[in-house]
């Protein structure tokens, strides 16, 4: 087992050893690294360092197995893990995408400032609680047939826009235009589609949320202005993904790719790392299904955005069209992208698990309006702490294939959190701090208490100080909806 080498204040290297084909590169602060080393000393599978090494051992991996400052143990890849693979020699890895395919954040901007909303937060929060389906047993308002689900999987956000959910202008400000190419509904099981019938336009539960926020400070005024963000402005963040459909795709392909791994003779260090060569029929089927899951998530967030607009219109008296999409970006994905490696432009399959794309200035993938500074990325805090808007950098493009952090990760287990915190108390304490919380499950609130999570400020600081991301704005929650 190799030792971590510190190469910079927030950069660490795991040299190649054993079955590793490339080194590991971690961007993280000392406290995070200390936790990772403690996890590894525990000699269980639940070790992000072990998972970084596992990723490094996969065929066709390019440059390094990467981990970003919010790194912590996951299933297969670590959360905060990035792995880029050669299209001819490399593999598509189920654990490099995860179950909640294209889980991500939609951020909406309103024309309102804090003063204009202060007297209406209670009514707005209650309206969002009433009208946004969230939590166990909630049902989406859009009921679809199998054929219509197939349209969602093929067309993503555009399909639901066509059904009257939101504005066509939204699509230009969604990653991939709200639709990943290559989606093939035939690669998704009927069970996955049936599970999704009632879930299009639902928030979910666990760490998913909908937050009404205020822009507390613009840290990069130029980029903030480009994105249409101003201090004191009210925005809304929606964090959710592909719901049951994504999970069923993950379950189905864990089995199919286990067979494929054996067929192609690929050693698998952990069961959730099952994979297939990218260009194999199995690899192409999986990527077709991932694209479907991604499109399902884009459609899901588009419907939720529409419901937010409607709630603001009813309570705050503004036109639905006055609320616009700043951006919508996922943090569990695998995409074919062009990157320069050792002076050569190459097409690579980039897996990002609990990590977003964070392309720097000038990339064509960014919306034209944002191209000069690069598209925004979003880092979720807890109910009681800040969230952040970041953007990518040239350094990040070179060092991390243009990747960004997405959130702080838990500090306490759900069991410990449920023992330490009581849902009602968390809600009361947050209310005293000016943050109103609406939750369908009080137990869920206890598990998601701010004290259960790591300090997001530290994670952002590490990403910024390592040069891979740049901070654009800090947001504070005003109202939170949880499932």
């Amino acid at each position: 087992m190799s030792e971590l080498e510190r190469v910079a204040p927030t950069e660490w290297r795991i040299p190649k050893s054993g079955s590793m084909r490339v080194p590991g590169h971690l961007f993280a602060d000392e406290e995070t690294i200390a936790q990772l080393e403690a996890d590894e000393a525990g000699r269980t599978e639940w070790s992000a360092l072990r998972q970084v090494r596992n990723v490094a051992s996969l065929p066709g991996i390019v440059s390094a197995s990467l981990a970003l400052p919010d790194v912590h143990p996951g299933y297969g890849f670590p959360i905060g893990g990035v792995g880029a693979f050669d299209l001819d020699e490399g593999v598509a890895v189920v654990g490099g995408v995860g179950f909640d395919i294209n889980c991500g954040v939609r951020m909406l901007a309103t024309p309102l400032d804090r003063d204009e909303i202060d007297g209406r937060i209670e009514a707005l929060g209650a309206e969002l609680y009433r009208t946004v389906p969230a939590g166990l047993g909630s049902k989406g308002k859009l009921r679809l047939s199998i054929a219509e689900i197939d349209e969602v999987l093929r067309e993503g956000a555009a399909y639901v826009v066509g059904r009257g959910y939101g504005e066509a202008e939204d699509l230009a400000f969604i990653e991939e235009g709200g639709c990943v190419g290559g989606a093939d509904p035939k690669t998704v099981s009927n069970l996955a589609k049936q599970r999704q019938f009632g879930q299009v336009g639902t928030l979910g539960s666990g760490n998913h949320y909908l937050e009404v926020q205020v822009v507390e400070e613009t840290l990069d005024p130029v980029a903030a202005r480009v994105y249409g963000l101003a201090e004191g402005q009210v925005v809304v963040s929606i964090h959710t993904g592909s719901r049951a459909l994504g999970h069923q795709i993950g379950q189905d392909y864990l089995k199919e790719m286990a067979r494929a791994s054996e067929k192609y003779g690929i050693p698998i260090p952990e069961r959730e790392m099952v994979c297939a060569p990218i260009r194999s029929p199995e690899g192409q089927r999986y990527l077709g299904a991932v694209a479907c899951g991604a499109n399902c998530a884009f459609a899901n967030r588009q419907v939720l955005a529409h419901l937010v607009r409607a709630a603001f219109a009813r309570i705050c008296g503004i036109a639905e069209g006055a609320i616009w999409t700043i951006y919508d970006i996922g943090h569990n994905n695998a995409k074919v992208e062009e990157h320069t490696v050792a002076g050569e432009v190459r097409s690579l399959l980039v897996h990002r698990k609990g990590s977003t794309r964070a392309f720097g200035p000038g990339r064509p993938e960014s919306p034209e309006a944002y191209r000069a500074v690069g598209h925004p990325t979003f880092v979720g805090g807890t109910m009681g702490t800040a969230s952040y808007v970041l953007r990518g950098t040239e350094t990040g493009m070179v060092r991390t294939f243009g990747s960004g952090i997405h959130g702080a990760g838990r500090a306490l287990s759900r069991k410990k959190a449920a023992k330490r915190f009581w849902g009602e108390d968390v809600i009361s304490e947050l209310a005293a701090a000016g943050i109103r919380v609406w939750a369908h499950s009080k137990r869920g609130i206890a598990e998601e208490a701010p004290g259960a999570y790591k300090n997001v400020e530290r994670v952002v600081e590490a990403a910024v100080s390592s040069g891979i991301n740049r901070a654009v704005a800090r947001l504070r929650p005003l109202a939170v909806l949880k499932g």
Binding site: H72, G135, L136, R414, K415, R443
Partner: protein, 153 residues
């Protein structure tokens, strides 16, 4: 602060919820695999609802095969979670019979429940799936069957 007991306060018999940083670790022990699998199902649904408040008015049969007990467990629990989404049912009572076959194992099981009622079932956090990480089903020296798994919430 006093309040309505949360579902976790009613941990089913033979079930231990473990510390797990991101999701929910579970250990169940049963006299045999059948009982361990019943308790595993109870462990999953007890995270979501108060099992004592779920009426057994609807019946959902499950018949599955797998080459290994741990895969059988994932498929059993996965089938119940899928049915939750497809039919809107939550389950509070379970029966399982596992038989060895030439290719591994066969499970014939039944889950009883009813449509979810958020006003009555005291809902918790939705369980999305079962991870293969940390998955184990083994026979203990005592002769009991122990199953460990992680719930993705």
């Amino acid at each position: 602060m006093a309040g309505v007991p949360q579902p976790e306060d009613r941990t089913p018999e033979g079930v231990t919820y473990l510390d797990h940083t991101a999701d929910v670790g579970v250990r169940v022990v049963g006299r045999n695999a059948d009982e361990a699998f019943v308790r595993a199902a109870a462990a999953v649904f007890a995270r979501m609802v108060d099992l004592d408040r779920v009426a057994p008015s609807a019946e959902h049969p499950v018949s599955i095969c797998s080459d290994a007990l741990d895969g059988l467990l994932v498929d059993w629990l996965g089938a119940l979670l899928a049915e939750k989404d497809v039919s809107g049912l939550v389950f509070g009572r379970f029966e399982v019979q596992i038989a060895e076959t030439a290719d591994g194992y066969r499970l014939d099981g039944v889950a009883w429940g009813e449509p979810i009622d958020v006003s009555r079932h005291r809902i918790g956090v939705e369980v999305k799936g079962i991870s293969y990480l940390g998955l184990a089903v083994r026979r203990e020296r005592s002769g009991e069957t122990c199953a460990e798994f992680v719930l993705d919430v």
